[in-house]
Structures are given as C-alpha cells and as structure tokens.
Symmetry: C2
Subunit: 289 residues, 2 copies
C-alpha cells in the first residue's frame, strides 16, 4: 500500500518514520524542504505538491496544525483532492473543528475519496513511542481497511462514530486535560504558598485519587519550573476554541473551560504562548483575591 504523508512537524515526523520502518512505501509532501530530509533519508519519496503525492497514494495521512491548514492541503490549489485517485482514503490526524471535518468529508465523498478523522492523544512522546490513542470518526469499514497503518502509530484505536466523532472525542480529551491542568496548577500554587515543597506535594498526590497523567507530566514541569515546550500553549488555546464552539452549538456553557480560556488568553497576551502549558502555574500564582 502506498501511503502519502503530509505534515512533518513534532508529531508527524516520528509517525511518518514509523511507517517507513514498517516497510510501507511512503511518499511525503513538505512545505519546508528541510522538514523532509530525515524522511528522505529513511527512504520516503518527496512530491512537489499534495496533488502529486495523492496521485500516487492509496492512503493520504494529514497531520498539520489547524482547520485552515487541512482545508488548504486537501481542497486548495494543487491540493490532495485535485490529484486523488477515486477509492483512495484520506486520514486526517490533525486536531480540527468537527464541523469542518464533516464538510471536507462531504467534498471528498463527491469525488469518491473516502475520509476518516483520526486525531490522537499521547503527545510527542506518544508519537515517538507509537503509543498514541487514536480516536476515529467515519465509516467503520474504511477504518478496517487502514487499521494496519494506524496500528503502527498507536496502541489503542477507538471508533467513536460517524464523520467528526473522532474530532469531538479529541475536543473532549483536550477539555478534560486542560481543566485538570488548571486544578493541578491551583493545587501546587496553594500548597507552595503554605510552605509545602511542590515536588513532595506532587509525589504525595500521585499516590491517591488526585493522580493523573497531567499531575505526573505537567505537574513535574510546574514543580521544577520547566516551561520549555512540549507543545506550545497556543496550540491548546486553538483546541479550546473548538471545545467552546462545540458547547455553543448545543447551547451549553462549560464554566471550568471558561476559567482555562481566560488564563490561556492571559498567557498569550503576555507573550507566553510558546511556553509549555506548565507555565499556567505562573498565571495562577498571580491571581490575587
């Protein structure tokens, strides 16, 4: 099976390399030529445009940043759709708005190209270790066709429902993660203000019902004041926009998500948007009664 891969950033690069190592014939497209180098070294073929890549691919995987990036890569000039073979499959693993996913799936369907939304959780470390969880929306029969590919990238592949359902699940994941990060930041900040060592506090809390991967990973960086990303906070802010738009669509309000939104906006306004989410603790520490 010929696989085309678009988006060779901190997530996409290790994912594409796993597919090369698994013996797949991998083609790539990269806006920045230097992003392609490690893949070309691993045997991938470089195409000049997404359309050219799609014309030689049975499956095209996209792993880019935002909704507009996926739209450009799939539907833009020289985009995937203009070159794609009828019957081929597009797997979008980016984190984008579910509504936009549904529109793109429709546009592709009219040209007999099938689409899955398959965003992931697990972060750069999960991409490197191929231990991602992949949340899939779309036709389960299409998922079955590409499951061997996804199994090279992740440990758990969960079919969530029709087109967009994978993106809804990812939005819920980001919501739970971000609110948990706010709670960990408030807890570590409160403890430190009352004289506790945040490292000891984190260790104690990991032994009980407050234990979480957020406490383990972001909590460690909060306690050590390590604010180098990881993932830049502005990417979480992008995801939170998707969450809040989903809430608006169904006439609901999410108050804890609203608190996080305010704090991420403050970080970005202060020029801290490229820091790790762990820097949220600095914003919490500044809050006066």
């Amino acid at each position: 099976m010929n696989i085309g891969f678009i988006g060779l950033g901190v997530m996409g690069r290790p994912m594409a390399l796993h597919l090369c190592k698994a013996g797949h014939s991998v083609g790539i497209y990269a806006r920045r030529r230097e992003a392609a180098d490690p893949l070309v070294a691993a045997g991938a073929t470089l195409s000049a445009t997404p359309a050219a890549l799609a014309s030689t691919s049975d499956v095209v995987v996209t792993m880019v940043t935002a909704t507009a990036d996926v739209e450009e890569v799939l539907l833009g000039d020289d985009g995937v759709l203009s070159g794609a073979r009828p019957g081929s499959i597009v797997i979008d693993m980016s984190t984008i708005a579910p509504q936009a996913t549904r529109r793109m799936a429709d546009a592709l369907q009219r040209r007999h190209v099938r689409m899955l939304d398959a965003p992931v959780t697990g972060g750069p470390a999960g991409a490197e270790a191929a231990t991602l969880t992949i949340m899939v929306g779309g036709d389960p029969a299409v998922l079955d066709e590409v499951r061997p590919i996804l199994e090279r990238l992740g440990q758990q592949i969960v079919h969530m429902g029709g087109h967009g359902a994978g993106q809804v699940a990812k939005a819920c994941n980001q919501l739970a993660l971000l609110v948990n990060a706010e709670g960990v930041a408030e807890a570590l900040a409160l403890g430190e203000r009352h004289g506790l060592d945040p490292r000891t506090l984190r260790r104690a809390l990991l032994g009980g019902i407050a234990a979480s991967r957020v406490l383990e990973e972001f909590g460690a960086r909060m306690a050590e004041r390590q604010f180098e990303p990881g993932m830049a906070t502005r990417l979480y802010d992008k995801d939170l926009n998707i969450v809040l738009e989903l809430a608006r669509e169904v006439g609901r309000t999410l108050p804890a998500a609203g608190v996080v939104r305010k704090h991420l906006d403050e970080m970005i306004a202060r020029g801290e948007g490229s820091r790790d989410l762990a820097a949220l603790i600095q914003t919490v520490e500044r809050l006066e009664d």
Copy 2:
C-alpha cells in the same frame, strides 16, 4: 504498643481492623455502640469515653468527619486530652482545617502529648486494601515512632512539614481531585450532547494525557449514571471550604475551585448532597448558555 482508635465509619472501621489483624492491642471508643461490634468481634476492647481509652493507650488514632468532631473528641469533656498519658501520641487522620490542627497540637503539647496530622487519600477502597497515601504534618521523630502503625494502613507515607502541613497537602489533594472531576463531567457531558457514547469516550480518554484516577473511577460512575456513594458529596464540600479558607488566608483566589464550589452548593441545595460526586455531571448537564 496499645493503640486507641476513635471513629469507626466507612474509613475508620477497615483501618482499625487492619491494626487488630496485625496483632496490635487495639482499644476503641464509639459513639454508636453498633459501630463497635465488628471491632469487638476482632478482639478490640471498648472504652466508655475517649478519656478512658486514652488512659490505656500509647497512641490514639482519630478518624472522624470534621474539625468540630476532632475538637470534641480531643479537647471536650471526657476527651482524649483529659485522660492521655504524658508522652503519648495522637494521630489525627481526619480531614480538617490546618489552623485548627495547629491549635490542637499546641494544646496537647502543653500537656506533653504529641500530635501528628495524618490525613489520607485513597478513599474507602484504599482503606480496605491498606493502600492509602498518608500525608503527615508534625515532628519527623514522632512520625518515626509510629511509622510501623501507619505502614499497616497505607502504602505511601509522606512527611509534608510541621503541624498542619499534612492537612494543607490533603486540601491541595481535594482541590486537584475536585477540579479534575469538574473537567471530566464537562467533557463527558459535552461528548454525550454531540452523540458520543460516554463509556467509549471514557475508554478513549484513559489512553492518553487526560487519563486520571478521577476519569477511571468517577468517570465510570458518571458514564453508568451510578450516583450511590462512595463518599457523600457534602464531605467534599466540607473539604472545599478548607481549600477556599486556605486561599483567603494568603490573599489568593482559585477560580476553578470557585466553579466547583458553585456546583456542589447547587447539588446540596437540590438535596443531592448525599449522592456520589459523580452526580456532578447532572449539574453540568443542566447548565445552559
């Protein structure tokens, strides 16, 4: 070593039984005689008052509900202090206000009784399995004397600092736990509104960075609509009061804790205070934009 145990509720009963089974000489005091029966059956001696119990104990453990309960049991008429032997040790494992703990430690110290605050996390299941995490405040040398007792009750014993530091750590634990529960409730409610099955969503989220014990345990009860406690929500509300008082003391505000406070207050006002914290999802589902 003679151990006196006061507070034979959902947490205290299995803890006291562990001490009996470990071969300690255990005495008990119980306001309600029937609470004492399983302990007496396991070989514990029943005393008529906390003072009488203290007079025959090297170590007195208290595991009661709130600050006022600990004050009454320790400092009230026929309380522990009026019978305690000089040099004996009181370990308060209840979850109460750190300021009150410090005052009680001072009052006991004047009569040459030493005190530790040693609240726990792990819930009724952790108490049954003796896998609690115990957060200790007070003199580390006193902790060393009673460590073999605590090791019968928990897996991890963490010294947090001086008197009250164990209670501050517990408050931080409850803060992280409660905000996480709010985030899980918002995430599962949003997903369900958009057509996802909450059981499938929980399973997917457990595979990634949003994984937490709250998602695992409370998330399962939210997804299954199982609102029988567990711990009654009003006990978490009591703990949240301690958290917010600690924030006020240092002139800080905790916005996500404030969201949870509002929601728990609404639950209690609707007469749902004896339900499991998982019922928080019902309150979140009612929020309209």
